[in-house]
Symmetry: C2
Subunit: 212 residues, 2 copies
């Protein structure tokens, strides 16, 4: 309504790509707030400043909106993670970065984190089909780091990298859930977050380090 249109230079034609993005952002916000099933398509539309029908120009249906959020965002996250891991020298540093990144996401993009944490589990059909493969990639990335550490002799070899990776992810997810559910509105205090991240990373690393 009181919305300015195309805003800058060229005008509106190429606004298409922009609309899609606006809808995605709005959907993340609303899904985070109310959950997938309790969210009305019309709410997403309103939040995006778009007509109900417009959503169907960019997405097949409501499910597809959730799917696209995963495809788009988790893809990017994986990219960032890969780059960050490549940059660090030691296994320990890499794992600490993973922890920081996953919990940091909560600070930066709280809504996205909540959508991932909470909605990852909602529709099993959806989940298994789209989210699970990406999720698996994420886990394999972590498992890879751990396996490398084992080969280097830095990490103990009597724990399966996969199990360790899953535990790591689960623990971080569990910590995230606390804040996602705890404070309805406010961002979790970054200091608390950082403290938790550090403590947990230490705990995990000490458990995983090769005994001397």
């Amino acid at each position: 309504m009181a919305e300015k249109k195309g805003s800058s230079a060229k005008g509106g034609k190429r606004a298409g790509g922009d609309k899609r993005e606006r809808i995605l952002q709005a959907a993340i916000r609303v899904f985070a707030k109310n959950g997938f099933y309790a969210t009305r398509v019309s709410e997403i539309a309103k939040a995006a400043g778009v007509a109900d029908g417009t959503i169907y120009l960019y997405f097949e249906n409501k499910d597809d909106v959730l799917v696209q959020i995963f495809e788009d965002r988790i893809g990017k996250l994986l990219e960032i993670l890969r780059r960050v891991i490549a940059k660090e020298e030691t296994v320990e540093a890499r794992i600490r970065r993973i922890v920081e990144l996953q919990l940091g996401l909560l600070e930066e993009e709280r809504d996205l984190a909540e959508v991932i944490t909470v909605n990852l589990r909602q529709s099993s059909r959806l989940l298994k089909q789209y989210a699970a493969p990406l999720f698996t990639k994420y886990l394999e990335l972590i498992a890879g780091v751990i396996a490398d550490g084992q080969k280097e002799g830095v990490l103990r070899r009597d724990v399966s990298p996969r199990i360790a990776a899953r535990s790591l992810w689960g623990a971080l997810d569990g910590l995230a859930l606390t804040w996602a559910l705890g404070t309805p509105e406010r961002k979790p205090d970054p200091a608390t977050l950082r403290k938790a991240a550090t403590q947990f990373a230490t705990l995990f690393l000490d458990g995983l380090r090769a005994r001397d």
Copy 2:
């Protein structure tokens, strides 16, 4: 239809309590299979061998069925956990038992585990109101064990018991999720499960043990 009625001795009058239980069990089964939102009330009814309307004699509405599952079952789980913890002598043994119990639940009552793991996150309204308090109790129980360990000097003191407890729960939940989602039908292989439990418990304990 082809259902035998009151079956044994007395007849049917006190069958009421029985019906409620039948509905709960059926609901756990169906919720586990399809998730809360995708489940039709009529499906629960069919699975329980009961008319649609009967469900409303025992539960306020569909939401209430889920709520009652939590109240009923998690209550019992807490009870068991408390008893088990009391019986063990050392902190290490207690933590190992917690791990075994939570992963063991997956083996024994796969559907319930799935409902808890997956549906715990579905309706945030529902979740915050009913499940969260019970969940908090569970976490506090674990945190208590860890705090005791710290007081005894067995566990390191530089990690908050709460954070450790959350991590522990999250990791176990993450491991459970693997199997809950992985094999659609079959129970996870008990041996795999046990291996994972042991490995993780060792990992966690070694991380948490007081350094010498």
